[in-house]
Symmetry: D2
Subunit: 270 residues, 4 copies
């Protein structure tokens, strides 16, 4: 039976409220539903129920990656789990891989990358803003993932330092300006991705990709629709997130052969 | 520069056609666009362009996980990449995790699990049909992932053999019949998931989950919409996959506290 | 040039706010952006801009049917324009038609029906609650449509009074209980429709329809996604309405031939 | 009981197949499921079942507007029912209205307009191609709607002949080139609409609308998702139409006040 310990990222759940924090000896957890001493949360089985001094029963649970991502401290728009799951798959980011991302932002996607590549993999994160990278480091530290990420405070217009990386993802407003830099960093057969909020930006990127010899280009968007969980009243929630961003995936091609655009007509391949 | 070698899973791309196969010395790759000797594909950089004897230029590329999943040999409906990416995230399946799945099916999801848990993780896959597990093994072997998966030819109605696993996923028509077995196999704070094609099945599962003390229940569906990649004609493809399955996620609760249903009203959390 | 007159339903627009009301001599229009005398709004061209006493410029506009529907006074959930447009088309409700609806509710759909059938058509609206029909009458009167609607304060379990009507629409929680009554009211070749919020209700209705010899059964849902209108930042709004109701359409069959289920597989026919 | 007569547009339904045609004395209806003499279909109640000489039972039904639209003879892309229903509502097109459309195309939308405005309303349809207008006339004649439509064989760049019309709809690739002409034709407080397949076209139109003093601009898309109708297997169809066109709605403003952009943020108003 897995037991909590100091330093763990923990989640307390009460009705529809979730609280995410790190367990530290001698600290108190405070809400308007009463307080709980961290000491009472440390050394007990995950999944336990713990009462606050007001008698409210909180469930103590190990947060999932999604829980952690949704509770991340953020100073900027983050990439959301619905997109992250699909991006990881499309970019083939898994154990032992080396991946570059730019920019770092608040570190939500950095966290997901660091989590997915495992202790033998490596994430390299570029940003021009030191404050953002500082925030990202704090967010990574909460999950104990800071050692898997190398930060560069650098304008990617000056190029990436690494070469031969497996994957590269651009979350910047003007990815079309960094395509030759991206190709130089990527290994042949590597995977390239980007996320952009507007169609105008996607248009610009597509024009640039054609010129820079990217192939197997794919543009898509993911939608996530939640349902009520009352079994005799099955229906979707009233509202949903209608847009986060357009996702663009591609492969750098060795010698610029034009015969390689991905079959976008294959609508049967979700 | 990464170079191909015997045994690698390779993909050749010509226009909108993709061919996935393992590189084997002395073998030939044959299409109506000509043939290429495997020997000419081995030992060259990924991303190279190789001509068939008819002069057609094929791009030689390392398949992504999604490429591999979409080309998997299947005797049954598989779970598709759009769902797999989100399921992995929701179940927190990453390096070093231990996860149970039932049934094995054709092994597409098994492949994704084995890929995600890394060489130190472990996948345990249950099915009653030996032929399906045989097929899944072949599919795993193509990606060199067979060592990460342990197969049990067993009716899960008789219970899972393991306990304390991190995650458990049911892809069976009647998951409501295996909830107590699932709770016994899962660690506290573990993650549970299922996929079901119809609302009637979801209804049955939700009724059963209430009785078996599952909490933080969440029902959703993912949709993936592709766009044409012609920059001056930006628009979605004409058609899309409208349905694969409903996804259900939950957590086994230590002592059955009812105060833990996940906030489904949080439509702002994609 | 069309000019406003006393009694007209008018809309004043200021930035993102819309105000819908009837023009009456000697009355004042009041907002926190200043007031305007109705007398200054009467006898001027539609589309004029009129200043409040605080100098704010309001646009005076003739409300569309959708504008009127969205501003209707309501004591209950109404059917929304995205569904109404499609329902009218599916039920073939146009000039000179006779249509029954039950229940009346707040009269939003009643208003749309009355508007669509024209001065020679007829709407017959059933409800058990007098207060709802009173509200619906007030809402109809604002658009001058009250003469086109006949109200029955009656339990439809006791049957509809009319026979041979072109179309019949049920917006009640248990339409499965009124199918024989509906068939008796409808003409052969008539059109039947219903709206239901949950899948459980749809399931019950479908079982009942089979038994009552309805054919060409069709179940669908409509989704409406709005975009920002900033031309150099084209993208969907962040959120959307994810669910209003499931729509069910069918035809009563003359002699119960089973060979008439509509081709739901025809996904190419939006 | 409504009875069929010569000249009526009729629909025969057998399983998942539908046949739409005009009833004419002495004619034969032929399929591979046998033939039926029109004389046997004339003068009988709508909703009757009629056997072919091979003993197959066909259901004889009065086509709905949607049935008619989906079976229209077409030489060009038509606007589909899912969009037509919403466009009619947004443009407030109902009995007694006068509406302009350009181009005529195959006449599907023309048919819907003629049907909706009733015998006292009027549709004016512009196109440069005589063959298309000829086809549209034939399609209208089948429904007996040809008298409600006036055709102009004319380049709308030269302006519309009418003024003071209630509504105007552009289904042309470059609506941005006809905005001043559209404003001259529309009454104040009139309704303007357009449909465009690509985001690039929408962008161009939005830029032009700003310059031409259009207000209350709204861009959206409609999606229609069908479900299987098997009550114990409730789920969406596997595939759906993912895109037909983007819809743009606006109002010409009397004096160009800029304070009138519609509240697109109102995502709660479907």
């Amino acid at each position: 039976m897995k037991v909590t310990k100091t330093g763990d990222l923990a989640m307390l759940v009460l009705n529809h409220k979730q609280f995410l924090f790190q367990l530290e000896a001698e600290k108190d957890f405070q809400t308007h539903e009463g307080f709980i001493r961290h000491n009472d949360l440390i050394g007990i089985p995950w999944g336990s129920t713990v009462a606050s001094h007001l008698g409210k029963s909180f469930l103590l649970i190990e947060p999932s990656l999604r829980d952690a991502l949704l509770h991340i401290r953020r100073h900027s728009q983050i990439i959301f789990p619905k997109d992250i799951g699909y991006i990881l798959l499309r970019l083939s980011i898994g154990p032992d891989k080396t991946v570059i991302e730019a920019g770092t932002g608040s570190g939500a996607f950095t966290t997901a990358l660091a989590w997915a590549v495992g202790s033998e993999g490596k994430v390299i994160s570029y940003d021009k803003r030191q404050d953002m990278q500082q925030l990202a480091k704090q967010n990574l530290a909460k999950l104990g993932l800071e050692d898997r990420v190398e930060f560069h405070l650098r304008d990617i217009g000056d190029g990436f330092i690494e070469t031969g990386v497996d994957s590269l993802f651009l979350d910047v407003p003007n990815p079309e300006d960094y395509l030759s830099q991206s190709r130089e960093a990527l290994t042949n057969g590597g995977t390239f991705g980007a996320i952009l909020p507007t169609m105008n930006q996607v248009t610009k990127l597509l024009y640039a990709m054609e010129k820079h010899g990217f192939g197997m280009i794919n543009v898509c968007e993911t939608l996530l629709r939640f349902y009520k969980t009352i079994p005799n009243r099955m229906r979707p929630l009233d509202r949903m997130v209608a847009h986060t961003g357009y996702l663009i995936f591609a492969r750098p091609i060795y010698d610029g052969d034009p015969s390689t655009q991905e079959n976008n007509a294959d609508f049967a391949s979700p």
